[in-house]
C-alpha cells in the first residue's frame, strides 16, 4: 500500500490556474431535459461572503446517466452534456451554473436516489475539499433518497435548492454557523 498524498489548501491565488472559460455551463442549450440556472453565495461563520472559493459540480444527465465507465446503466449519454462544472466565486461570493435537472440514479440496496448534484467546495482557509449535494425542494422523490435519510430532518433544508423564478434555483453554501450546510464524509 502506498500512502495517500495529503490535501493542502487551494490558497487565494488560484483563478489564473483553475478557472475554465464557460466553466459554469454544464449543459449545452441542445441538451435534453429541464434546463435551469443554479445560483447562490458562499458564506463563512461570520456571515461574510467568500470571494475566493471554487465550486465544482458533477451530475448525471436528464436520463440519469453519468458520463463515466462505472455507470453501466442503460440510459443514453447525451452528446450535449458532460456533467462537470467549475466556477470561482465573484467578489460578492456568488457562483452560478446553467444545467439540466439530473435524472434519478441508482442508490444503495436497489433504491433510486432523488435528483441531485455532487458538489465540491475548495477555498483559501479550507485545507481539504468539502463535499455536499444539491437536491431540489420541489422534487417529490426526496423522501425516498437514502442519503437525505441520513441527514437529521432539521438540517435537510440546507441541501435543497429552491425555485426563485422560472427555471432559476437558489442554493447558498454556508461553511459554518446556525444555517451551516450539511457536508459529507464520502
Amino acid at each position: 500500500m502506498r500512502g495517500l498524498t495529503p490535501f493542502q489548501t487551494l490558497g487565494p491565488f488560484f483563478d489564473f490556474g483553475l478557472v475554465i472559460p464557460d466553466g459554469g455551463i454544464v449543459a449545452q442549450p441542445s441538451a435534453a431535459g429541464r434546463h435551469m440556472a443554479i445560483e447562490g453565495t458562499v458564506f463563512d461563520g461570520a456571515g461574510a461572503v467568500l470571494p475566493d472559493a471554487l465550486i465544482e459540480i458533477w451530475q448525471a444527465n436528464a436520463a440519469g446517466r453519468y458520463r463515466h465507465q462505472a455507470d453501466e446503466h442503460g440510459a443514453p449519454l447525451d452528446p450535449a452534456f458532460e456533467g462537470f462544472g467549475r466556477v470561482a466565486t465573484d467578489d460578492l461570493g456568488r457562483f452560478a451554473f446553467t444545467t439540466v435537472r439530473p435524472g434519478r440514479v441508482k442508490g444503495p440496496e436497489g433504491s433510486l436516489q432523488a435528483p441531485h448534484l455532487a458538489v465540491g467546495v475548495l477555498a483559501r482557509g479550507l485545507l481539504t475539499r468539502l463535499v455536499t449535494r444539491i437536491y431540489f425542494e420541489d422534487e417529490s422523490s426526496n423522501g425516498e433518497d437514502a442519503v437525505l435519510a441520513l441527514v437529521p430532518p432539521a438540517r435537510r433544508p440546507t441541501l435543497l435548492a429552491r425555485e426563485i423564478g422560472a427555471g432559476r434555483y437558489h442554493f447558498d453554501i454556508v461553511l459554518q454557523g446556525t444555517l451551516e450546510t450539511v457536508f459529507f464524509d464520502v
Binding site: R2, L4, W58, H68, D71, P108, L127, F184, D185
Partner: protein, 234 residues
Amino acid sequence: MPDTLTYRRPPSGTHPPNDAPGYRSTALRHPKEPLIIIPQTLSEITGPAYPYGRIQTTDNDLTSQHTGEPLGERIIVEGRVLDEDGRPIPDTLVEVWQANAAGRYAHRIDQHAAPLDPNFAGAGRTITDDEGRYRFVTIRPGAYPWRNHDNAWRPAHIHFSLFGTSFLSRLVTQMYFPGDPLFPYDPIFNSIADARARERLIANFDLTVTKPEWALGFTFDIVLRGSKATPMEK
C-alpha cells in the same frame, strides 16, 4: 451479478483537519457540525475525467508560453499519478499553478512587493500518459510573505490539482522543495498530523531527471484514493 466499486477511506492524520488554529483563515471557514458519513453511490464512484477541451502543447511548459524566457531557475518536475495499490492512473488531468521566481503570483490581489515577470503566467496543465506519467518544465517559485502571523512566509511550492478516477479521488495539494528552511514555521504544511504523510508533499531532487547545462530535475509522485471491486450487496 455486477461488482460495485468502493474506495478506501483515508487513514486518520493523512489529510489536514479543516479546523487548524495555526492557519488563521480556517477559523470561520471550517464546518463545526460533524461530517455525515454517506455510502459511496454511483454519484461518488463516477466523476469527471477530462473536463477541458484540447490541451495545448505548451501547456506543460510554463517557460514557453510567452515571447521571452522567464527569469529564475529553470526546473523540470515529473512524476507518476498512482492509486494506493501502485496502479498508474493514465489519461487524467494534472493542473498546476505557482508564484514566479520572485515569489509573486500573476494575480490581481497579490500585494507582495516583488516584481511580476511578463514572461511568466505560472499556470500549466497536462494529461498523464499510459503509465500515469506527467512532466512540467517551469521556474522554481520563490517563497513569499503572508499575513497569517508575524513574519510569516510560505515555503516555496507549486499547487497541484488532480481528478483521478472518480469524484472521490479528487485532490488539490501543494508540492514543496527539499530542504526548505521554512518548513518548521509553516502552519499549512504542518496542518498534516502524520509526519510521513507531510514528507510525501516534498519533491525529490533527481540527477537523472536533471538536464546537463539546462535545468534541475525533481520528481513528485502523487497517490490518489484507490478503488477495489467488491461484490454488490444484496
